[in-house]
Homo-oligomer: 214 residues x 4
DNA sequence: AATGAATGAGCATTCATTCAT
DNA sequence: TATGAATGAATGCTCATTCAT
């Protein structure tokens, strides 16, 4: 929804209705972002050359800089856009669910469905975004904190309505759930065997909800 | 405990050190590793210069290459050494504990105690080691798999002895526990406030053992 | 006197300008040249971007190339146009003066009046035009040589009519006068204090005519 | 006389007496400076590549940065070193001369002798150092001002002792002389014919001292 | 073993110029 | 004529690694 000024100009002079033929908002910007995800996933952020991204997107090197200020900004944009959709979809979906445990289940499922559907994006999220402490810190204070908060709030609601135990710190429980899901993704990425990621959500919840003790 | 520059000078007149031949590796190799952890933690692997590491260790740039083949090998060594100790200590400690749930608790505690005691090492583990898919893959096949297996085996034992539910896949439960602990460490690293990490182990186990449902 | 941006807008509805066909060159060409002088003066030729010039002139980047073949050609045109006027005005003015010493005085005055009236142009002349040996050489063979010749010829006339000493090489004397005037301009440009440049002509001539010896 | 820290270290580890075999202070630094003068003279500062300088000096590109922080610093160093020697030699020489007019003559001769002996250096001085307003300003405030002051002071002395007219502003006269000499150098550089530059000093002084009027 | 000067491959970014509209 | 998005060649500088001493 947020489009840069440059991009806005672009679409203006191209087509009065930019969305007339499908869901596009700026061919090039979009293409660069997609290429970047692919290249970052393959080579890692530091080993990826801007020329690789441009090449993958089928444009000239310099064109990248008409849409992004720097290589780093591309990485940020990849994250920002994905995180934004991620959270928006999460909120939208859980709004339709009544019970807190059902909501949490949906969040977990969405988490794995989403990343399971785009392996490259998942790699960038799991691996590359952690490649620098600096980025992690910004990450931590940005969309990530919001996401963790969504989980925490849902747990608190469950504690109020009595579905969840009240002797647990909601924030810690939220981190545990997030960490567990995150680990599922990481393992899935690194696994040689390809298996569907989404079903792991129920496995995780079985433990998270019921515990491992008999 | 901090030896860096002074230690380097000492080794110049090396034969004074009674442990210089055999059992003891090399003061300098150790110093380089320690410096690397510090520098990698501060700047990140890719932004860290070999000269930074050498400088921190109080030796000449070229000397680094007498002990390590490349910058990458330093990172590997950091991991290998830490992981080795990590696992060895884990096995040693749990050998003395009878019940599986107690064992698992000890593992979790050790995990957080260890990383909580060396913030720089924790940063390198949580952040830098994930900076490249390639490394993660090697990681996954190496010490990490062994560590995860230690957890898995312990859970399986618990399932045999009846402490843990049998309707859970041990490997999945192991990943969940690992992921939860891992997330505690990551949050601790990124947190502005400094709080003790080790106590979080019990928080995690409270959920992992009992679940969040009422 | 400053037209730049506004003028450019005017030309959009071009046919309103009665002089648009024929005798008058082009508003836009003029605007570009003026903008170039300003930008070259501010940033220097090499650091000036064609986009800067276009922006200053209120036109699109590409439009510049409808009037000039290259960035270098703009610099040449700046020089050519100014030098042409410079010499033409010089010749016109001295034609009305009888005595050689009076003529030379007028040339010197015009030199400083002209550059003193347009600081940006002066900067381009003093500083930028010398930024490349290649340009200097072309410069030397072009308008500059003609200008120097104007001075030399005037001196020779003075030697014939007996106002000037005959034991001096006219060309050398011409260079000396030119160099002295040139230095006045350079100093004026670099000076923090702003003082009128033109009056320096008489100062220079006092020395040039009478010498410094008592 | 002023050598950088790096250079100092260099010579220390190489030879206890760096001047033992001739007048060298740091082979490499010196070689780079010499190459830079040559390359700047040929191509101009902006068109000169650091690789050109390195190639000309017979060293690797990166080595340049062991002795200079940047390409710009090389240009500054070229100027600083030359100007320093220039002024020092000027002061030394005139100290031995009694009369102000004799002193001034020696300064003028030295000016042209020096630049006439090193055409490349002369080109850099006349052409490249003026390539940027910014540099000119620094130049103006640095060695150049000192040089101009040397001339001015000498003229003032001449006015006190009665050799020079007192109705002239010394600073203006100084600029005139400098400008005249400067122009001789510029013309000499641009001239196709190669003639000795130094003798022009007397030509200039003939006019500067006696004036052109009969 | 230790040094640190020297190497040179590698790369993000800029910007003059082009060209489809 | 005018536009400005797209191009892609060009380059200063960094830094892991080597090697003569």
């Amino acid at each position: 929804m947020d489009t840069s000024a440059k991009q806005a100009k672009n679409t203006k002079s191209k087509s009065q209705n930019p969305k007339s033929n499908g869901a596009f908002v700026s061919d090039k910007r979009e293409a660069i972002l997609r290429s970047a995800i692919k290249v970052f996933a393959q080579k890692g952020y530091f080993n990826a050359k801007v020329a690789d991204i441009a090449g993958e997107a089928g444009i000239a090197d310099g064109t990248v800089y008409l849409y992004f200020k720097s290589k780093e900004e591309i990485l940020h944009s990849v994250f920002d856009r994905a995180m934004e959709e991620f959270i928006a979809e999460g909120k939208r979906e859980i709004a339709e669910i009544e019970a807190a445990d059902g909501r949490l289940r949906r969040i977990a499922q969405l988490h794995l469905e989403r990343l399971g559907a785009d392996r490259d994006l998942a790699i960038v999220f799991q691996v590359e975004l952690r490649g620098s402490t600096k980025f992690m810190e910004e990450f931590s204070g940005g969309g990530f904190a919001e996401y963790l908060d969504l989980i925490k709030t849902t747990i608190e609601e469950g504690q109020k309505t009595g579905v969840f135990r009240k002797d647990l710190k909601a924030i810690t429980a939220a981190k545990i759930l997030y960490g567990a899901l995150d680990e599922m993704v990481t393992n899935w990425i690194l696994s040689k065997r390809t298996y569907p990621l989404a079903p792991m959500a129920d496995e995780v919840l079985k433990v998270f909800y019921g515990g491992v003790l008999k």
